[in-house]
Amino acid sequence: MELLIFLPLLLALIVPVSGIKIRNLIVISFVVLLSLFSISTFLDDRLYSLTLSHDIHTFLCVADIVLLVYFLAQGIKYRSKLVYALAFVQLILYLGIIYLAPSMHGIDLLSDELSRVMYLVINVVGGAIIIYALEYIEAENFSRLKKNSFIALLLFFLGVMNAIVSTNNIEIFFLLFELTTLCSYLLIRYRGDDIAVKNSLKALWMNQVGGVAILLALVFSISTYNTVYFSELLKVVDDSFLIPIIFLVIAAYVKGAAFPFQNWLLGAMVAPTPVSAILHSATMVKIAPFIVLKLSTAFSPSLSVMVSIFASFVFVGASIMALNRDFFKEILGLSTIALLSLMMALASLPSEEARYTAILLLVFHAISKALLFLQAGILEKVYHLKYISDIDNLVDHAPRTVFFIIIGFASLTLPPFGAFIGKFLGIEAITQAISQNPLYIFTLLGLIVGSVFLVILYFKIITKLLTKEPFKNILKEKLAFKYKLGSNILFISLFIGIFLVSALNVVEVLIPVILIFISPFLLKYFSFKSAPRVKEYNCGEKGDFEVGVYNYALSSNVIQKMMYISIFMIVLHLAIGGGILK
């Protein structure tokens, strides 16, 4: 566990000063090593725990204060009121907590089953993205030091993520939470232009709302339950006063970019594509379902209903909002928001099965999304395509990229892929929950309707990719090695995942596997040579045909209402958790 945390951090120190060849070599070999470590940790079921010494605690406190002061300084430097106000509030709260908190001694780091799954996601998926980033960043116009520090920052991010999923101390959790905020802030503003700075500040203040929520959770946790440890809090927390838990859940909503906090994640699109890939799949946003999964055992029945209804509301809302977007990355972003909410909705259900499905979704969503973002980056850098509407005849010269995009989308919705199985079992789990509490029907309805909206969204995009020019053969696509390596790792892990998840029986798995994976080969060997080729009949109509896609836009009025509803629902969470509503 320490290795997983410190190896990336150490590597992040080496990388900025090395040359390009050595850098690539070191990073690739270490990423492979990290992935292997995470796999072996995953297979090893021992509980691993660690208590940090007093000196380290003091050091972490100082680091935290320095970090908050840095945020304060950034806020003042860029004259962003929200940023410095929130940094200031956090600083006050944090100092108060240090003053209040009794000197407690307990387990600071703990690797349980959930964190082992998270290691796997973070290191394997994150690693593949970093390999890809090595190639991607070379296509940008920056100095060598800046390029290297980009890679270093990504590695640092991995280290922080590995730490955040193993922490058991909420104070340390807060520090790491703020560190991920720092990483995303620096990465989003990496390009340094106006819009990047603006969006990074937005991300900064929104994520600081999450920080404030955690600090409030700490305040209530210390004052009511006299503990700063997750494990103890979950043990002693009482249904009549769930406020600390709820503030942590709100922090999850912020990180998961649930309504009304969706804008920071959408704004993050201005960063280089590997950043979006790593934010959306392996790191940052995955904290959200992670927190809910960690805490859901302590949810009261009414809170569980509330969280799941709110999250499925966001699921449907974000899926519909994505229907009128044209910027490819933004579509992917909204679908991330949607699916994260789905994970939270499932994670909050009171059954083990539901938690399991949430974890399945979490893992496979990470792989699929990373695969999709890598292709988005290739489209951008190699084919200079950013918008869906600009794409035409892509399958003729980029069959590989198109195939991966289709697989990426298909793996989120169709059998036999892991994310599909997550939803599939999710339906069953929610149905069981309905018999206990009919209110869960909203969750079920949200899951079903939202999923169909997502299918429509995904296959609307594939429309544009697949339209082919007649009389042209598909050319082989040439790509840089590291581009291919990243995508291949993810593709293979998707494929292996199909067989690891044993929810379906053999026939049920094999039919779609054969159908989907046989099709490219069918195409290769069956070229239908004897059949005469013709141009499209098209009822004899002549003239150019421009491929279009339909859009469905919600009016801004409706979106605004959705935001008000979500704010209202979040407030309702607190009312329920505080014991006002029963």
Binding site: T413, E428, I434, V449, I456, P470, L522, E536, N538
Partner: protein, 274 residues
């Protein structure tokens, strides 16, 4: 053994059903109509036709569509998981949608688009029907559902919602906007010819078998009720087909989603209180 024979014969049943339907519809309109075996004559004739293609991928996707649908029906006959069957059917639909999008033809694209939107209307209802069966029988297994007593009375609203989706799935008026012969000339089908069109033609027959097999699930182990339901629905659907005019795709979605989803949810809520 009998199951495997049924699986092999499934397209033939569908073909006969399709032919019979044309006769019934013609009689309703006071016409003579084609012979019952007309679809098979059509198939025979298509073999002789000139089979030109636009590009191989287009053809492969149609073949995959056909195979997947056949697999769907096979799994239903063998009594597999109903919810899974619904999703596999979704995969089949996706194949044909992709096929429609892969050619540069306006009609094909419009057809595919409508097919995609139609999914928004019927897919949630199908899943909710599966949920309903799960709440009653405690399992999604079709073999189990078929052994249990019929629960059609406690699922009556779900059944009504299912009836709404039947014309949409079978491309019948008033919900036939996906195919709409006079308007978009068959939509996805338009760019296929000769022997390759046969796959789509047979896929259509299998779709019939699929829909009527879901219908039979509502009858449980009561075969008599099953036969009665099938005949009744067959007649009603054709009567409605003959007597209504097409509504456009947006109205289709609004009607089916609005009414169908509400009915299904009410039914599920009712079931959860039992």
């Amino acid at each position: 053994m009998i199951e495997y024979i049924l699986i092999v014969l499934a397209p033939v049943f569908g073909g006969v059903l399709y032919g019979f339907e044309r006769v019934v519809r013609a009689r309703m309109q006071n016409r003579q109509g084609p012979p019952v075996l007309q679809p098979f004559y059509d198939m025979y004739k298509l073999i002789d036709k000139n089979s030109s293609i636009v590009h191989p991928m287009h053809i492969v996707l149609a073949i995959l569509h056909f195979i997947t649908l056949w697999a769907v029906v096979a799994l239903m006959i063998l009594g597999y998981n109903f919810l899974y069957v619904i999703f596999l059917h979704l995969l089949a639909t996706i194949f044909i949608i992709l096929a429609g999008f892969s050619v540069r033809s306006v009609y094909s694209h419009v057809g595919s688009n409508r097919e995609l939107l139609a999914m928004l209307a019927y897919e949630p209802i199908f899943i909710l029907i599966a949920t309903g069966f799960y709440m009653i029988n405690g399992s999604y297994d079709i073999s189990l559902i078929r052994q249990e007593d019929t629960q059609i009375l406690s699922m009556i609203l779900l059944f009504a919602a299912f009836l709404l989706t039947v014309p949409l799935k079978l491309k019948k008026s008033p919900f036939d906007a996906c195919e709409a012969h006079q308007e978009i000339v068959g939509g996805v089908e338009i760019e296929y010819s000769g022997i390759y069109f046969e796959f789509l033609y047979m896929a259509k027959w299998i779709e019939y078998v699929f829909v009527y097999m879901i219908l039979l699930l509502f009858a449980g182990n009561n075969i008599l009720l099953g036969v009665f339901l099938a005949i009744a629905v067959f007649l009603i659907v054709n009567l409605v087909d003959n007597s209504t005019s097409r509504v456009n795709i947006v109205q289709t979605i609004k009607i089916i989603m609005g009414i169908g989803l509400t009915l299904s949810c009410l039914n599920i809520l009712g079931l959860s209180y039992v």
